[in-house]
Structure formats: structure tokens, C-alpha cells
Assembly symmetry: C2
Homo-oligomer: 169 residues x 2
């Protein structure tokens, strides 16, 4: 396992392949995931998106998991975890938790004092919500029927401190 | 008074002048207001932003007020009122309420079933919050310290129906 924050041109295809493999996201969501990579490849840091990749040095085009996060515009120190995904072959071994903690640590070092993560209230997202709760996130708000009728938006939040990371504590 | 939804090249400068005149927004916020106009001038409807302007036919470069709203990406029928501003010379005569109701009517016709409006919990925004409440909006969520310490994000929401507009009921 190898952690990497620098983007490569091959990451657009690698992210698409990863989020597709999860079988979890819609085609429109897959498109958004790739757009965030493309925008950052072309604009650099100005995009406002930061990435953390877990991959293997000998398999450069394949990702085991990744996160995309960044400062929420117009806020002083609130960050959003825009994406977190782990490939099916690497799920169930704590990689999601490691990605999350390491992203929080990097975000904190970049000035983040709060991390937000939005998800859906639908049944399909029960494991996602349980994951955030295990990771110390609390439900900050529920917006009823936000995405569609009977599809609420659930906003999770966690206050970050200096000891959030555990990869390099 | 004249209502207009089509953008003109002069609107970038007119919006900047209007939001500046209110004395209410930061330089960064003014910049965002202009960017939404510029992006829509260059990309057209693909920008996802809709505008409603109140101006006078004989004063083409001057706005009395305006709104900017649009479908929230990844939602079926939730819209966000990104901006609403009335020039100081025209405040206190119900123009804000008219702009709001007409924007809701146009949004409903474009498929909106919910309108969201985000604002701040700071004292400076008490009149803004009171305005949304008078207009039938309810507090859907409060995200503590979202913008900065002691600066909460307050999310207002209103369910839209066929009779929301009153300009052309």
C-alpha cells in the first residue's frame, strides 16, 4: 500500500474505474467524480480540491481507494469530504477508515477545523451513514426530500483537532 | 419597473454596482456575484444559473434589484436562491418580496418543488432571516460555526406549489 496526494494524468481514468467498480454510484455521479480530477489536473490547486490516493507502486493505473476533499468556499476553516471510495477488492479491511483519518490529518494541517460529509438518507446509504458515525461524525442536519421525494440529504460533521490522524500521529 | 430574465453583457457591471451599493457584502462575495453572471454569459443555460432582474427600460445599465437561482446539482427538483439584492434607493417598498415570489414562480415553472436559501446566523443577517421567515421560509437546518467560529450557516427552505407567484397568479 502506498499513499499519494499528487495527481497524475492517469487518475481520471483510474477514478472512473474505481467508482464504477463499486457499483454504488450513478452515471451522473461517476461523471462528477471524474470532473473534479480533470478540473484539478487543468487548474491545479486553484480548483479547491485535494486528493488522497491509496495505490500500489507496481500498479500505477489502479487505485485501491481515494478521497477528494477541500475548503468549502466562503468559509474560514470548514472542509467538505466530497468523495470517499474503496475498491470492492479492498473493502472490509479498514482502508476506508485509514483514508478518512489521513484525509482529516492532511485537511487539519491545511487549516481545516471542521469536516463535513453529505450523504443520502436512503436505505442504500445506511452503510455509508454507519461508517461516518463509527468515524466520529455526528448528524448536523437532515434536509427532507432534498435530492428527490423520500430522498433526504444528511449532513454529517466532525470537529477536527491536532490528533485526528493515526497514520503519522 | 420592468422585469427581465435575459442576461445582457452589461449585467456583470450592473450586478457589481448593485451589490456594492447595498454595503452588505464582502469583496469576495461581490466577486462571486459577478462570476455567476460571467459564467452564464459565456456558457448560457448550461451554467445552471437563472436570473431575474428588476430595472427601468430607460436606465439600461442600472438595476433596482435581482435574484440568481437554479437547480441544485444532483437533485431532482430542489432549487437554491443563490442571490437576492435590492438597491438601497428601492428598499422598503416590497421589491424584495416581489423578486422572491416571481423567482419562485419562474422556478416552479422550470420544475422546482423546493426552494432553499442559505444565510448566516450572525446579527448582521437578522433582517435577512426575518425576510425569509416573512416570505414563508422555515429554518431547515443550522450548521454551527460553519462559516467561521460563531458564524453559523442557516438553511431556509420552502415547498413550492402552483400558486406561489403573485405577479402573474
Amino acid at each position: 500500500m502506498h499513499w499519494r496526494t499528487a495527481l497524475r494524468a492517469s487518475d481520471a481514468a483510474a477514478v472512473l474505474s474505481l467508482v464504477r467498480d463499486t457499483g454504488f454510484f450513478s452515471a451522473a455521479e461517476e461523471q462528477v467524480a471524474v470532473e473534479l480530477v480533470d478540473e484539478t489536473l487543468s487548474r491545479g490547486r486553484d480548483s479547491g480540491y485535494e486528493f488522497l490516493f491509496a495505490d500500489m507502486p507496481d500498479q500505477p493505473g489502479k487505485l485501491q481507494g481515494y478521497t477528494c476533499y477541500g475548503l468549502i468556499p466562503a468559509t474560514e476553516s470548514s472542509f467538505d469530504l466530497y468523495w470517499i471510495a474503496v475498491s470492492p477488492a479492498h473493502q472490509g479491511r479498514g482502508l476506508g477508515a485509514e483514508l478518512m483519518r489521513e484525509s482529516e490529518r492532511l485537511a487539519y494541517a491545511a487549516g481545516a477545523r471542521k469536516m463535513y460529509a453529505d450523504t443520502s438518507g436512503r436505505e442504500q446509504y445506511a452503510p455509508t451513514r454507519a461508517f461516518y458515525e463509527r468515524m466520529g461524525y455526528t448528524k448536523a442536519a437532515v434536509l427532507k426530500d432534498f435530492f428527490a421525494p423520500a430522498d433526504d440529504k444528511v449532513i454529517y460533521a466532525r470537529r477536527l483537532g491536532p490528533a485526528v490522524g493515526f497514520l503519522q500521529p
